[in-house]
């Protein structure tokens, strides 16, 4: 493509025609502040913070102004700085600056800009408070902090096609509300939490359970265990200054022990159980040819999506519980029995990359509390634990050993690949395949046909609910047929879950975050000895000792009663 020349702050930049000023500036390492802009999701230029001065002296928004040959833009003139300052002053005049108590403290884009531009309250206005909407177990919406950037709405309606958020009223009293001014719980919200991930301020955060968990930690009558999801280990360390995607199990487990959890188990093992159960279910359905494609059921937001929008497909949903529920069930029933702990005393905390898990928890009693990656980081900081200098520790036996298949659940395609590894081993024995690269790619919709012996499987791997809706419509219209379909509500899967660590999207893009964390997971998988769930010795032992003698127990504990 033909290159054109653009001057940003006098620096000569070679770029392409269909690029915005912001794109070019990023490539040239010139920083322009943004609030509403989010690549591929929204560039509505509504916040006006990215204003720059063009050669005519006019202020243009960098996020949405296309460059042309010979264009000259300045990003730091007095006019620009003055404009940005005024924008921030105005935003501050409606913003409840409650930083000390804000969950977003330290991660807030707005706070950061207030600091950088030295903004003080200039207008003395009575800020009428909005009621805080904590109706949803997943996220809390505090409009007093909302700057109406529209990121949440766009991610909800465009990426996820859920449309739980929309603007209400107009002018000064415009607010980001829910349809018909209802509370979030009464909408079609699936709890994916992508809105909380992209909000530049503290207007949408997870519905925190830190207080409850802390109380239980202090309670001597409770036997509190926790279990950590696959993708938490590639995100937690970021909160302590490590690079995005740093794989860190040891210090995480060590911190959890220090916090006072009696045992720290690994949901990767739960995932191995899920693989065995789901693969078995798949093979059964293939035999009867009923209710195909089989839908993976690990993702609670996806589950809720089908319930809300496509109830006719509920029969396709796998009856398997999600890995964390399976493990919770095993902890309470198998481990408790083995260790002679009273069932009523046992409580399980799931540590998840996900806000929707807080919704899923209410389905049964396998898991009692759910902390997101962010909440865990906050809890660790609150207890003044010197995370970076902790001595690594191991997960607690007997629910800690996992195969590579269990680990890769954290990224999109992981469930499918894990099931494929298991099925392939079952069918082809020693000639089984382990790597299924086709399902790993970063795209939102991946289709593949996999052969294992006589078995031919048509698969579809989807991440992002908008993509899921697209595929469901195709299945409904008879355009597509699959045997197995994995769906993760969050784009990129759990590595980019709604409860993951907050990343500054003005510095890096969602795509990079997803990839760094997924790469880290796959890299670790590659280094593992056992990469297929059936090879997990501890799992085999539990089946042998506990489930095989009474198969009805497996069904009762590891499957939903529809």
């Amino acid at each position: 493509m033909e290159k054109i020349t653009v001057f940003i702050d006098g620096k000569k930049c070679l770029c392409e025609k269909r690029q915005t000023i912001l794109d070019v500036a990023k490539e040239c390492h010139i920083s322009i502040p943004t609030l509403c802009y989010l690549k591929d999701v929204i560039n509505e230029s509504s916040c006006r913070i990215c204003a720059c001065e063009d050669e005519k002296g006019a202020l243009v928004t960098a996020c949405s102004t296309f460059v042309y040959d010979g264009m000259s833009v300045r990003t730091n003139t007095d006019k620009v700085i003055d404009s940005r300052k005024k924008t921030l002053e105005l935003l501050l005049s409606t913003h409840h600056k409650d930083c000390d108590n804000c969950q977003k403290n330290g991660y807030c884009r707005l706070q950061d800009l207030f600091y950088k531009y030295d903004i003080e309250e200039k207008f003395s206005i009575n800020k009428t408070p909005h009621e805080i909407d904590s109706s949803s177990p997943c996220v809390v919406r505090d409009l007093n902090k909302c700057i109406l950037c529209g990121r949440c709405q766009n991610v909800c309606s465009k990426t996820q096609t859920v449309n739980a958020l929309c603007k209400q009223n107009r002018g000064y009293v415009t607010k980001m509300g829910c349809p018909f001014d209802e509370t979030l719980a009464k909408t079609d919200c699936v709890g994916c939490g992508q809105c909380s991930l992209v909000c530049p301020t503290g207007a949408i955060v997870e519905n925190s359970e830190i207080d409850k968990v802390e109380k239980e930690l202090q309670n001597p009558d409770v036997y509190l265990t926790c279990q950590v999801a696959p993708s938490v280990r590639v995100s937690l360390a970021e909160a302590f200054g490590e690079e995005i995607g740093t794989f860190d199990e040891g210090r995480m487990v060590s911190a959890l022990h220090m916090l006072g959890f009696k045992k720290v188990f690994d949901i990767n093992m739960g995932a191995d159980f899920t693989v065995v159960e789901e693969a078995t279910e798949l093979l059964e359905r293939l035999k009867t040819k009923k209710n195909l494609p089989l839908f993976s059921s690990c993702c609670p937001a996806w589950f809720r999506f089908v319930e809300n929008f496509y109830p006719e497909f509920l029969k396709n949903m796998s009856s398997c519980k999600s890995p964390t529920e399976m493990l919770g069930s095993i902890v309470k029933n198998y481990y408790g029995q083995k260790e002679h702990i009273e069932r009523t005393k046992m409580k399980v905390v799931g540590i998840m990359p996900c806000t929707a898990k807080k919704l899923e928890r209410n389905r049964g009693d396998d898991v009692d509390y759910v902390l997101t990656t962010r909440e865990l980081a906050r809890l660790i900081k609150k207890h003044d634990i010197d995370y970076l200098h902790l001595k690594p520790e191991l997960f607690d036996i007997p629910l800690s050993y996992y195969s590579g298949a269990g680990l890769i659940f954290g990224a999109t395609g992981g469930v499918t690949e894990a099931v494929l590894r298991y099925v392939s081993k079952l069918v082809c024995k020693d000639e089984a395949h382990v790597e299924f690269e086709t399902v790993r790619k970063a795209e939102g919709i991946k289709e593949a046909t996999i052969k294992a012996g006589d078995l031919k499987l048509d698969l579809c791997v989807v991440s992002g609910l908008g993509n899921a809706r697209h595929v469901l419509e195709q299945i409904k219209n008879g355009e597509k047929h699959f045997d197995f379909m994995e769906v993760m509500a969050c784009p990129g899967g759990c590595v980019n879950g709604g409860g993951q660590n907050w990343v500054d999207f003005s510095k890096t893009e969602v795509q990079n975050v997803k990839e760094s964390r997924a790469d880290s997971i796959y890299k670790h998988d590659k280094e593992m000895k056992e990469r297929e769930s059936g090879q997990n010795l501890d799992l085999k032992k539990i089946y042998r000792d506990f489930f095989i003698p009474s198969p009805e127990k497996a069904h009762e504990l590891l499957h939903y009663k529809h």
């Binding site: 916040c47 928004t61 005049s93 206005i125 529209g150 000064y172 415009t174």
Partner: protein
């Protein structure tokens, strides 16, 4: 329909309605009753029925028709009835007057002088065109105003309707149509004045197979009603123009976006579309030329911002009416992602006439940069309020003091607010400016959609700025920060000044913030919303300073800055003021002097207006 059929209808109908255009006495009469919103609100319907039944009662049905027609423009005199031949203009007609009009004028050919227009000196004007209000007007956009029944397709055909559409379809050269419009120099009448031909050319050059023509009838400026009157009065003209535009750019779909607050307009355009469809003037294969075009009506849900083209597109798509960043311009990517041209009602109303008469004819009117005419709605403190259509290049003084008849109650002229909440104020020294796009811009205001609000010295300029800002605050869509929050902060400062709590530094802040909002807002609404503030601040700064320093409002409008006192020398103790005070702030005894308690007084001004001895003084 074929051209022959069209001409047949034209000939037949023209025979029937010829009397409406006659100057000289014939044996037939036509009673034309204005039926647009202005006259409708003063019960023209009753007048119409009364006239009709009176005509029938006297058995004059064959000799005289009674027709509801569109707006005559002289709204302050409504309900207006015009009797033809001769265009005898009756003002403020009540249904009780029907008998006299029919028995005297129709039966005995004797004009009812009591009801014709009288100026303030008592001079009587029988003929419509003799009235000063109509003096310098030139009707192009409002051609045939007051002559045709808006609900009748035949009436429109009779006055050359759909001839222009036939002409271009026969020639079958879309580029020629675009060229004709380009050469005519027609510019958008919605406010910004973008050359219409250029806009069409952009859309025409796009290769997309689907394109849209949108008529922007979302007229929302306070005090503007030109577009309403055009849609109400001549809906077929808009349909014809849209079909011409459709042919020129290669679009098959048209949308008329009209605000739901215009019930008569939206009803009439719908009726007209249906009529045109039934006659084959819309739909497929129009005039057997293979040209397809149809129009939908979309009602706006009451948002001023939807007059801005990108918001209008969003609204047409069924989404929240919020603007988006241009480029891409609608001509490239508009409604549902397809190339779209959006033309204002008045712009479109010019098109058929330009096509019929050629660009050379149109070019003759107006100034070098602004061709043709512009319709203004003259309102406010002026004697003759109503719609006027003027050739560009007339000066403002002639409009206000000529057609407008000067200031109401002969008070002192203070200014003209042009362009509604986006425009600015023209003061005495700029009154001799010739009206065109550039000149108005140079004196710190704009053409806008054509609202002209005349102000006298009872208007407080700070309060005026506050009024318009309240409007834009309400009407801001709430998308971008400067407009959503900035305007509100601006309004708060103005309120502070009006309340007598202002400081000199607030004036600097007003100016600063206004400029920021202007430079940083996303769409035209935000970019122009501080104009009334900036314009009054520049031209009437002394009034601002007075409010701040002396805590005084010279117009006596800002309630917190005025007080009512009873002049003890003049008071006769009649108790009138005390009895009328709604908050019992006035104490005293009959026959003795009365006193107003400033603590209780709410400054409603009731005492001031009821005192017969001018003892109550406003300070």
């Amino acid at each position: 329909m074929t051209f022959e059929e069209l001409n047949k209808i034209k000939k037949n109908r023209l025979d029937q309605i010829a009397v409406r255009f006659e100057e000289q006495f014939t044996d037939r009469y036509s009673i034309l009753v204005c039926s647009s919103t202005g006259c409708d609100s003063s019960h023209c319907g009753d007048v119409f029925s009364a006239l009709k039944s009176e005509v029938e009662k006297l058995g004059l049905g064959k000799k005289c028709e009674v027709v509801k027609v569109d707006c005559f423009g002289f709204c302050v005199q409504g309900p207006v009835v015009v009797v033809c031949p001769g265009d005898v203009f009756y003002c403020k007609v009540k249904k009780e007057d029907a008998k006299e009009i029919v028995s005297s004028h129709i039966k005995s050919n004797k004009v009812v002088d009591r009801l014709v227009f009288h100026d303030q000196d008592g001079k009587l004007y029988r003929k419509m065109m003799e009235i000063p209000f109509y003096n310098n007007q030139k009707m192009i956009a409002r051609l045939n105003a007051g002559k045709i029944d808006p609900n009748s397709l035949e009436d429109y055909i009779a006055v050359d309707g759909y001839q222009a559409l036939f002409k271009i379809l026969k020639n079958n050269n879309p580029q020629a149509v675009v060229d004709e419009i380009t050469k005519s120099g027609l510019r958008g009448r919605g406010g910004a004045g973008f050359p219409t031909g250029k806009k069409w050319q952009f859309a025409k050059d796009n290769e997309s197979l689907t394109k849209f023509v949108i008529c922007n009838g979302d007229e929302g400026d306070p005090g503007a009603f030109m577009d309403r009157s055009i849609i109400e009065g001549n809906p077929h003209c808009i349909i014809e123009a849209m079909a011409i535009a459709g042919f020129a750019i290669g679009a098959k779909n048209g949308i008329v976006y009209v605000r739901a607050e215009y019930p008569i307009a939206s009803k009439r355009i719908k009726v007209a579309i249906e009529q045109a469809r039934n006659m084959g003037l819309l739909g497929t294969n129009i005039f057997d030329t293979g040209f397809d075009f149809d129009i939908d009506v979309k009602l706006g849900a009451g948002a001023f911002v939807c007059g801005e083209e990108t918001s209008l597109i969003k609204s047409c798509e069924g989404k929240r009416g919020e603007p988006y960043k241009k480029p891409p311009y609608p001509a490239e990517k508009g409604c549902q992602g397809f190339p779209t041209i959006i033309n204002n009602v008045e712009t479109l109303a010019n098109i058929p006439t330009i096509i019929r008469n050629g660009y050379e004819w149109f070019e003759k009117f107006g100034t070098e940069s602004s061709k043709g005419t512009k319709v203004f709605s003259v309102t406010g403190k002026v004697k003759n309020t109503g719609l006027v259509e003027l050739p560009m290049g007339m000066n403002l003084r002639d409009v206000v003091f000529g057609m407008g008849g000067g200031i109401l109650n002969d008070k002192k002229f203070k200014g003209v607010q042009m362009g509604g909440p986006s425009g600015g104020c023209v003061c005495e020294k700029d009154l001799d400016t010739k009206i065109d796009y550039e000149n108005l811009k140079n004196i710190g205001t704009m053409m806008g959609s054509g609202g002209m609000i005349v102000l006298d010295d009872s208007t407080c300029m700070v309060d005026l700025a506050k009024f318009f800002l309240e409007f834009t605050c309400d009407e801001s869509c709430g998308k971008c920060t400067p407009c959503r929050i900035g305007n509100r902060r601006l309004l708060e400062i103005l309120t502070k000044i009006c309340d007598g709590k202002g400081e000199m530094k607030d004036l600097a802040e007003l100016e600063d913030l206004s400029k920021y909002i202007k430079n940083n807002s996303l769409c035209g609404l935000g970019q122009t919303s501080p104009n009334p503030v900036l314009s009054t601040l520049e031209k009437f700064r002394d009034e601002y300073v007075e409010h701040v320093k002396e805590k005084k409002c010279r117009a006596g409008v800002c309630k917190k800055l005025i007080k009512y006192e009873i002049n003890q020398d003049k008071c006769v103790g009649c108790s009138m003021c005390a009895r009328n005070c709604p908050v019992s702030a006035i104490s005293g005894q009959v026959g003795k002097k009365y006193l107003i308690s400033q603590e209780i007084c709410v400054k409603c001004g009731k005492c001031f207006s009821v005192c017969k001895f001018n003892a109550v003084e406003k300070k």
